[in-house]
Amino acid sequence: MSSALSLAHEPVTGIRHGKLGMWIFLASEVMFFSGFFTAFIILRNTNLPVFAHGASELNWPLAALNTVNLIVSSLTMAMAILSLEHGNKSRFQLYMGITFLCACGFLVIKYIEYTAKFSHGIYPGTSSFFGMYFTMTGFHAIHVIGGMIPIGWMLAKSFTKRGYQDWERVEILGLYWHFVDLVWIFLFPVLYLIF
């Protein structure tokens, strides 16, 4: 506002406010998921048979597919940032679009997995393993949806007349998106592969 006053200067750290905020937020997110992993480790060590049995009931090939899915989306997200930075609008739309589709694909597969469990009468209350499974993957899925909203918004915006140019914002979103991917990279072996 008070443009004549030189109070609002360049960020002291040289990192844009939003980006700095995102890094801090991600630190917080790491602690959030750490809480779940801690609980998982403790419960697993005290209920080994239940956990082994639970994990064996999960559909790991589908989850592996989903892992590939998210890794690809992380890659295309990075390409989208680069394209926008270089001012290549159509490339940005392409890569951002693929990212969005991958995210949708992830949720569809997750939906298939969940409904398969429900149809076998498996719910979060079935055992402490499934309690943990549904909580951890559920919160992860919420994070995926939370990422899809701004991805979709930026994509839609870039199709309007004014377009979308703020590649630094996309970069900030990218940080978040890579984090969501990373969480899955931990969830996948921990939930599906050890039994």
Partner: protein, 615 residues
């Protein structure tokens, strides 16, 4: 405006200020809603936090008085309000056992999550950080707005528990399962705590980004006042600690709704059979770990007690230095002590669980790490004493409250050391000794510090001076009644009086304590009603207070460079920082203080222009 912009050496500059402000005003036909309700201005948000917390302070205080009434006169109807309460809560106007546990739970939940934390971080961080680092607003104003609005939503969620079947949460503010693993009231508690925790994380994120990125020109980290340092370090605790509470309550939620057996142990039998619909045996699919919840909970909640006290330590440091007209003693040591307390705060949580079932070896490590915290804490105490030592002490209301903070905090810290010793804690755990401790650190410590800060910054917040006589009266009344109320709790605690008990006198050995409990209750009531003086003073002075000067306390930090009642954008002058915030009695200046923003070559002329009394 030009008269206010005191950098008269540069008329062209002043003119641009004017232009900027004219432009400002044209722009500023913001709607009432954007200006006062969904505001993104950090000062407005600070005031919103302050008023919301004040409201919750009254609610939580009323609950406390119900509790005290029951302990002093069990079975007798609550005066005035008893007959209005529904029969599910009271019988013949007297508190029922179920209502009693709800009261202790809600009292602590409200005081911790909705009073002290939002005041210490929300109100002070929002008001002080941008002003004290010389900038116009927070780094992320919209996030800041969301961080406030989550608080009333969370508060309403938790309070709505009173209207659901089975009543509100009643397992204590620590909400341990399995007791808390069923009932709508507990589920609402979990949702509310999750939301208020999210508010805390968003706030902390913003305070960190702002402090790192938006400091005025020339201000290094070690030029920041201790208030800002303390809030900065507190924010780290908020950002790293709160999410663990969020994951703990999320898992508790899954247990409540689905009976997953995460915290509910295998083959749990309850006397009523009502806790779980089938009577028992939820653990067919693996047994849960109730103690796991305690670990996760205290991993947050011990750092949380530092979230409640560190900002206050910063505020008190600034106030003591200003009113003793002396530099803070050992500025860097104060900063490092804050860091040490924050770090150690993450490795001591087990001292709340000595009796929960823990390897004695682990208990010993927690005992040692807890005792070690006494070292940085003492550094702070000694440095405060060093600051006021031989100072030119002014006993204005903020300073009285700050001194009150030190004396009660020392007392609470000492009882902490007792409880930190495992073998002693076995005896006093879950007694009124603990209640005495928490009130000495949280009421005596945090709340006196909050009072100090509110009085200290009131002139800058509202542009008016509060009434000094009423302020002093409020302080002395509160200080005396506080000690008479809480000190005897140490004694009945050591005598075996347990906490959270509806009617202690069912035990023969507690009967002699009834007169002491009545004594405590009388002073609790007096203390409660003394707070009306504070509320009256704050509201009355809004309208009838003397107009505040720009720098009423002749302090050095940047907020006093802003106009008496700063508008949007905060400052009417460029801010460059030339020195640390504690230059009292500097040989460079004729006066006994030398603000951070005064240019070295112009000390006398410029200081003249912002001298006390001018707006």
């Amino acid at each position: 405006m030009a008269a206010v912009a005191t950098t008269q050496h540069d008329h062209a500059h002043v003119a641009t200020h004017d232009a900027a402000h004219a432009h400002d005003h044209a722009h500023h036909s913001v709607s009432f809603i954007r200006k006062y309700i969904f505001s993104t201005d950090h000062k407005t948000i600070a005031k919103q936090f302050l008023s919301t917390s004040m409201f919750f302070l009254l609610v939580g205080g009323a609950f406390a008085l119900f509790i005290r009434w029951q302990l002093a006169y069990p079975g007798e109807p609550i005066p005035l309000v008893g007959k209005w309460l529904p029969d599910t809560l009271v019988s013949n106007g007297a508190v029922q056992p179920g209502f009693y546990t709800q009261l202790v739970t809600m009292h602590a939940t409200i005081m911790i999550f909705f009073v002290i934390i939002p005041m210490a971080t929300g109100a002070f961080a929002n008001f002080c950080i941008p002003l004290m680092i010389g900038t116009d607003d927070m780094a992320m104003p919209t996030v800041n707005m969301v961080s406030f609005w989550l608080v009333p939503i969370a508060g309403l969620t938790i309070m709505s528990g009173f209207f659901v079947e089975g009543g509100t949460a009643a397992a204590g503010w620590t909400n341990y399962p399995p007791l808390s693993a069923s009932g709508t009231g507990h589920t609402l508690w979990v949702i509310g705590v999750f939301l208020v925790g999210f508010s805390s994380i968003l706030g902390g994120m913003n305070y960190l980004a702002t402090t790192l990125n938006k400091r005025a020109k020339g201000m290094r980290m070690f030029d920041m006042p201790l208030t800002v340092w303390a809030l900065f370090i507190t924010s780290i605790l908020q950002v790293l600690g709160t999410p663990v509470l969020a994951s703990a309550v999320s898992l508790l939620f899954v247990d409540q709704v689905f009976h997953a057996g995460i915290f509910i142990p295998e083959n749990l039998l309850t006397s009523t059979g009502g806790l779980f619909p089938n009577g028992a045996n939820v653990g067919a699919g693996g047994g849960g770990q109730p103690v796991l919840f305690q670990h996760l909970f205290w991993f947050y909640s011990h750092p949380a007690v530092y979230i409640m006290i560190l900002p206050i330590m910063g505020v008190v440091s600034d106030i003591l230095a200003t009113f003793a007209r002396k530099a803070i003693f050992g500025y860097k040591a104060m900063v490092f002590a804050l860091m040490a307390i924050a770090f150690l705060g993450f490795v001591v949580w087990g001292h709340h669980m000595f009796l929960s079932g823990m390897s004695p070896l682990l208990g010993t490590t927690f005992m040692l790490s807890t005792i070690v915290i006494a070292v940085p804490s003492s550094i702070k105490i000694f440095n405060w004493l060093g600051t006021i030592w031989k100072g030119n002490i002014h006993f204005a209301t903020p300073n009285l409250n700050a001194l009150g903070f030190i004396s009660t905090f020392v007392c609470g810290g000492l009882s902490g050391i007792f409880m930190a010793i495992g073998p002693i804690d076995v005896y006093i755990h879950d007694t009124y000794f603990i209640v005495a401790h928490i009130h000495y650190v949280l009421f005596g410590g945090a709340l006196f510090g909050i009072f100090a800060g509110v009085y200290y910054w009131y002139p800058k917040m509202f542009g008016k001076m509060y009434n000094e006589t009423l302020g002093k009266f409020h302080f002395f009344l509160t200080f005396i009644t506080f000690n008479l109320c809480f000190f005897p709790m140490h004694m009945i605690g050591v005598g075996g009086h347990m906490r959270r008990i509806h009617d202690p006198y069912v035990y023969e050995f507690l009967k002699p304590f009834q007169p002491i409990n009545q004594f405590i209750t009388i002073f609790a009531i007096l203390m409660g009603f003394s707070q009306l003086i504070l509320i009256f003073n704050l509201l009355w002075s809004l309208k009838f207070g003397r107009t505040a000067p720009r720098n009423p306390w002749r302090a050095n930090s940047l907020e006093w460079a802003a106009p008496a009642h700063p508008g949007h954008g905060n400052f009417d002058r460029d801010i460059t920082v030339y020195r640390g915030p504690y230059e009292f009695a500097s040989p460079q200046s004729k006066r006994d203080y030398l603000p951070q923003w005064i240019r070295p070559a112009h000390v006398d002329a410029e200081q003249e222009a912002t001298v006390v009394g001018k707006h």
